[in-house]
Symmetry: none
Subunit: 195 residues, 4 copies
């Protein structure tokens, strides 16, 4: 299962690459493997050896954050209040997407470059599915929303923040405003209650 452990120097190179990529992502710069190599002081070939495609590198950058989210999803399952659990979960997810530019594209992609990414996304959203089911059973959530809508809706909020184009420091606040609207809309009683 575990791949051959990396040689010491190879591991160091890998870390350097990811660190450079992290930095580029934070500066909203597209990942170009040539560019990453240059900035990392490595040959392109080395970067390609570690990451076959820009997507693979991006997913690697996103992974720790995905892990955190998945872990939070796990914990949210223990919350006795189904609505709050779901809302917390979605809030965290949106906050992460708005904060970390590596997440949105990875979340929105239907195909992953790395199996590991697929695993993480599955873990994350399987928690989401349970939380949604519970909330729905508790009558806290409108019934016309399916599990498959969670990803689109969270990505949508993040996208709204991008379109809004506010200063970096205001992104989280803006996201919260939009989330408030979304969460309001999710509540069961708001379903098409007539005119």
């Amino acid at each position: 299962m575990t791949p051959t452990p990396l040689r010491r120097d190879a591991a160091r190179n890998r870390e350097r690459i990811v660190a450079v990529a992290r930095d580029l992502v934070d500066r909203r710069t597209a990942l170009q493997l040539n560019d990453v190599a240059r900035r990392a002081g490595l040959g392109v070939g080395t970067v390609y050896r570690h990451f076959a495609t820009p997507g693979a590198l991006l997913e690697t950058v996103a992974a720790p954050c995905l892990e955190d989210l998945a872990a939070h999803g796990e914990r949210a399952l223990a919350d006795p209040d189904p609505r709050r659990a779901l809302e917390d979960f979605l809030t965290r997810t949106v906050e992460a997407q708005v904060t970390d530019a590596s997440l949105a594209p990875v979340a929105a992609a239907s195909e992953d470059a790395l199996p590991r990414t697929t695993e993480l996304k599955a873990a994350l959203w399987s928690a989401g599915r349970v939380l949604l089911d519970r909330a729905r059973e508790a009558g806290s959530v409108r019934t016309d929303l399916a599990f498959g809508d969670l990803v689109p809706l969270t990505c949508a909020i993040a996208h709204a923040v991008d379109v809004h184009g506010c200063a970096p420091d205001d992104r989280i606040d803006t996201a919260h405003r939009y989330l408030a609207t979304l969460l309001g809309g999710l509540r069961a009683d708001t379903t098409p209650s007539a005119g």
Copy 2:
């Protein structure tokens, strides 16, 4: 006022270009002026003469739809029910974005290539602003949403549909589901009413 009526053949070429672009947009293909020229059976220079940038061409493709939306916005102002007026307006706007791929990027862009586009967007959203104000005064809409949030939110829904990745025929239905949630969330009484 009128810039100079185009010569017959020039007009035909221009239409051909726009038609080709329309087709590419519908097939979710990026507009490349060289490519458009080839498909239209015209020289590159001809395309550049009519549309200095891909953005200008895209906005030209989007224009008719923007006009329709703006016209609808005008009519919506006559609706005596402020909430319904706003909801209709947003619904139409989202439907359009989901149906016509030229709209989302034009709507989301902060800078326009053509003055005409700026005018149309201004007309459209000035109606939106009035409708939002009225709805808010009528207490039909949560108070933490500002005029500047309308564009992001409608783009967000359209983006959610894209992320959802459903079949072309289901896009409108999906959009309506998301809209229902959004509109539910917009209603005043759902504002952070505690847990």
Copy 3:
């Protein structure tokens, strides 16, 4: 001999074109017939009808100045002092080239676009030839310089000023300094007088 006199409007167009070109030349901008047409508010075709090539237009712009120079050449023939006559002639020619950007390329070209230009250049330099011959006979000029060197040498001074790259206002002064050197060098007694 005289070509059909231009129709009134055609003459006006022609003048407009030349005026625009004159302006562009003064701003050290390359003459592009499309560009000239646009600035003159005329169709490209019109410009092409009047001036088949950028060279023809440039020569037309240069013509009045060439005429002045040729006229001065004529007058210089009347000067009883052969050295002064030649030096004045060269000075005027260089001053003109340094002042009027249309001259240098026309002067340096071995082929002309317009017969009229060939005539003017011939008139100008036939005066130069006589002035040089007289000065040489008077022993005022080194003997190793031939008629064919006058154009290169004047162009050279103008080029030196360009390379020097001084402010527009200093060009004439710089040209005079270089001319002083050149004229000094032309004087007979300076010929290789040993080491």
Copy 4:
């Protein structure tokens, strides 16, 4: 100090590129990187990797000659006769420009593409400055010529030869004739001594 010795094959390619460029320069053909690539049998990217701009390639072509000139400048400093030293220096410089078409544009340019070029030009002309100062102190050179005039004047001679348009084999002789005039003009005693 040394940037990293080039790999064998890379060095060979680089040489091939420079050789092709050298050839084009000798045939008075403008350097176009695509064209150079094709003639060298290499990909465009390869040429761009080695030379980011046509200017960089041209300067590389010119470099050996500039080095020779700079070396000669050094040696000229040892000549006890100030006038002869300066005249030799200028003669060599002009001969080089007239012989090697890569020099004139590099010499005349106020901005260099490569730092190396700036160094070489500085070395060359700092020798020139000393030689000029010495000659002036010795009273061998007119006083109205400054250091900044050396480049323009040498370029001017080369330009005169171009304008003269003689056969390739006569260029050097023509240059010598013009140089004789220039050097005559530089001599102190020829300064505006009245008529």
